[in-house]
């Protein structure tokens, strides 16, 4: 760990804005909210810049805070009585179809239907390429919980993908 490393806030924003925004968007399904979360995460980073020791520390810190802020936002939405899952189910795929590949849109659409702990584990696993241990550290959850969320999430996705395929075949 190099103590010589001096964090440059602007450079960190440049490097990680896409990662932070993607995590927030895939967790909340709301572009405006994700942008707001990303801004808050970076401003919090600015307040804690003195404690960041290395580029890896900055990356892990940003991932952890982005996931925490997204979970907080989802909790607030639920408290306010907005069922974001239903909204995401209906809109998520449509939002992505504008800018991503059909495969991306399909994956996003399926992912949006999962409960948030499973979605969080899968996003960190497949967007960020983290191992279950790293996911457990990022989400501050027990490793067994993370592994269970990954397995259940994949099982659910598989089931949903198959049922959609059957619906598509029936429709044609």
């Amino acid at each position: 760990m190099s103590r010589d490393w001096q964090p440059d806030f602007e450079q960190l924003v440049d490097e990680h804005q896409s990662m932070v925004f993607s995590l927030a968007f895939r967790m909340t399904g709301d572009r405006g909210l994700a942008e707001e979360i990303a801004q808050d995460v970076f401003l919090e980073l600015d307040r804690n810049l003195g404690r960041i020791e290395s580029p890896e520390h900055a990356l892990n810190w940003l991932r952890r805070v982005a996931m925490n802020r997204s979970a907080d936002a989802l909790r607030r939405q639920r408290v306010r009585g907005m069922d974001l899952w239903v909204e995401m189910d209906e809109n998520h795929g449509a939002i992505f179809e504008e800018r991503t590949s059909p495969l991306g849109a399909r994956v996003e659409g399926l992912l949006a239907t999962l409960p948030s702990p499973q979605r969080a584990a899968l996003v960190l696993r497949y967007q960020e390429g983290l191992t279950p241990d790293e996911i457990a550290a990022t989400l501050e959850s027990p490793l067994a919980t993370v592994k269970s969320n990954l397995q259940r999430g994949l099982k659910l996705l598989r089931a949903k993908a198959e049922s959609r395929l059957k619906e598509y075949i029936r429709g044609t």
Binding site: V20, F21, Q39, R106, L150
Partner: protein, 109 residues
Amino acid sequence: MGLEPMDDLERELRQGLLRLPAPPGLKRKIMARKRALDAEKTHRRVVFWQRLAASIVLCGAVGGGVTWHNVQEQRKGEAARQQVMMALRIAGRALDQVNAQLAARDSRQ
């Protein structure tokens, strides 16, 4: 999990969940909010130091005033004491003279 070979769904997830580009202007908005917060922080710090300086000046003035008042009181007390001592000395001298006169008269009788 993680070391097992990936199946089609996992491959699809990996390909489909690439990082999205950040919305245009996100960095600009972050930097603008940071500048605004920094300015607010600086302003708050300036106000804090101004208030601290004003408090120190006020405490100094009050303390100085109290000290000055005490010194004046002490001076007045000292002057009064000097006056009392002088009055006592004068009275003592007068009594000595009267005593001397009485003694002289007694000796003449």
